[in-house]
Symmetry: C2
């Protein structure tokens, strides 16, 4: 894992740990790769992955639009300079008071995936644009989002045609192929589904204007080493997805806007979480003696996803020193505060000692956002944007 000079220089400063540092230039680089690889798709940044003002302002300056999960995220987008027509309220289930406020603020585009939500939208955001989220099996993704979200294709046709009767604008279709999707084919299949729904709606004289390709573009920095022969680059994914758009919607007559909602892809590789070893010892786990490193960051103050994500871990110990399988654990008195990916041990130099720093790379997304407000008295991750 190669860090930028800016990150390395910041990480060398004597700043108390734990903290997250994000290089906004890496974020900008990722953004440019995305819009270059998918020139016909407008980026709506998924604010939930990191809602820091510096991130939103940077993305706004680059031309990005936004996808918000709540009214507070909408306020954050406005604070960063966004206009109402650049914000999509992407949570399929919304509190009535949040719909009212968003509508008053001029937000026009709202996600939904069931009739009951449409009824709420018709009452509290009359005439708004509604975007129906289709169910997706999440196949090929690291985390599917299939249980809680999305409706069937026939339901989508039904809901969007009924939305007209409710005075709403049947604006578009969306899907989410799951987080860290490892196959571009997932988008192809979802687009085939969307085209079927769009065609059915045409038969009812309803012409949608938007397809939302969701998120799920992989952050390649923490994919398995064994996956190295596979191309997880945005260039490859963007090319495949663009080809799918042409193949599936090339024959569509009329205006059709494509948007996407990346989060993790844009932020993950831009950020590093720096932590300090607070204890190094040998102790038992399951009748075997192991090396344990206790860190000042854990599951509840920054690395909630550590059991699911294989963050590359950097250290300053001599690379030639003997390595040993190591259990990493957080600072709280909670026995679930463990940081080993899929219960696998890390392989780290035996010489790492109390006071030494460790750097969790590719941690710019979802590290600060999952932080507890103060579990066990530990503060949420400090954040720096450079």
């Amino acid at each position: 894992m190669q860090l930028t000079e800016k990150l390395n220089s910041f990480l060398n400063k004597p700043i108390s740990t734990p903290f997250l540092v994000v290089d906004l230039d890496v974020l900008a680089h990722q953004y440019r790769r995305l819009v270059t690889a998918m020139p016909n798709v407008v980026c709506h940044y998924s604010v939930k992955s990191n809602s820091a003002r510096a991130v939103l302002e940077k993305l706004f300056a680059l031309g990005s639009c936004f996808e918000a999960a709540s009214i507070n995220e909408i306020h954050a987008c406005f604070a960063a300079g966004a206009k109402a027509n650049q914000i999509h309220f992407g949570n399929t289930i919304k509190k009535i008071s949040d719909i009212e406020t968003a509508y008053q603020l001029g937000v026009q585009s709202y996600a939904f995936d069931c009739y009951e939500e449409l009824v709420k939208l018709a009452q509290y955001a009359p005439g708004c644009r509604v975007v129906c989220r289709l169910k997706n099996d999440g196949k090929g993704a690291h985390w599917g989002l299939c249980h809680k979200f999305g409706c069937s294709l026939t339901e989508a046709v039904d809901f969007l045609s009924r939305s007209v009767l409710l005075g709403l604008e049947p604006y578009g279709l969306s899907f989410h192929v799951g987080s860290q999707q490892q196959s571009p084919d997932a988008w192809h299949r979802a687009l085939v589904d969307a085209r079927w729904v769009a065609d059915e709606l045409v038969k009812q004289d309803i012409k949608i204007g938007l397809i939302n390709l969701g998120g799920g573009y992989p952050a390649s920095g923490y994919l398995n080493d064994s996956d190295n022969e596979v191309d997880y680059s945005m260039e490859f994914f963007g090319k495949c997805i663009s080809e799918s758009l042409t193949a599936i919607f090339g024959s569509w007559s009329g205006d059709l806007k494509f948007i996407c909602e990346p989060g993790r892809y844009l932020l993950a590789e831009a950020g590093v979480v720096k932590t300090t070893v607070i204890l190094a010892c040998e102790r038992m786990l399951s009748d075997q003696i192991h090396r344990w490193l206790y860190l000042d960051v854990g599951k509840f103050n920054g690395l909630y996803e550590a059991s699911d994500i294989k963050y590359p871990v950097l250290h300053h110990a001599d690379q030639r020193s003997d390595k040993t399988s190591t259990i990493l654990t957080g600072p709280t008195c909670d026995s679930s505060d463990m940081l080993s990916y899929k219960n696998h041990l890390h392989h780290l130099p035996f010489t790492i000692a109390v006071g030494d720093p460790l750097m969790f790379c590719c941690a710019g997304a979802y590290s600060n956002s999952y932080s507890c407000k103060g579990f066990n008295g530990f503060e949420p991750l400090a954040e720096y944007y450079i």
Copy 2:
């Protein structure tokens, strides 16, 4: 589940949800039950279960001492009026800067469970009292705390005798039988272990002065209905534990202080989380159609433990209306934000609709403390102490 008049009256006020309300009289009642049932045991409240100032002040006024997991929790104890000698630094692994600060503030009692931590304590809290945490298998507990904490009995003898050489005071032994321990026998077995270690130390002319019985006393409000024939009352547990203390340490010559570290037992039943239904609909899960209620509280803003705890759920719907198996889910776009206990469905009236309140009872412990600072833009649980 019967709520106090004070809670009922507060819950009927038009205060925006979600929020936690804690009846401090229930907390006081639980505290008095504990000190009555275990008259020879000093209560050190486990701050991590709810560190609100009102809670700490109430417990301080009642005569409680405190167990802190971090320097911020120590500061909170001082702010509530506690003196340094009433605070035990109970996290076995501590940051050096936190040890230094606690020591400067006069805290004298520190937990540990490995030699490396003793070395840190000797350097940064010279001469302090050290309390060695023994491993415990957590048998009979809802959550064992066995992986991350505790040393073997022979290690304890070794560490405490070596602590003398480091200039520390080999003050005591501690254990934790696991959260929501359902058998008083767990304390008996742990006390037998502690007595063995204490006797071995006597052979080396080391006489300990403290046994810390830890936490784990059950909050009976959310135990399974099927467990009703079992007595989970503090009166029963206290009687059993007191008998064990007499049986095992009655023959001990010299001063021996007993302390305990309850958290959940004191707070759980004092608190209610009030939430509002933001959507009610039927939708599929695993090829079956279900009733779904989406709430404005979820795993990340107050009910992190909902999949492990069977909170009694109250509502205002007509009790005579037909009930249906219901999936409860939180407001975020995270597919893991589900609130069903052990994946079992709740049985709730079909008439519950958007805007209706639901009350999660026995939620005074760990609801606010696990809250994220703002995941998906949702604020941490608001808190009221009455």
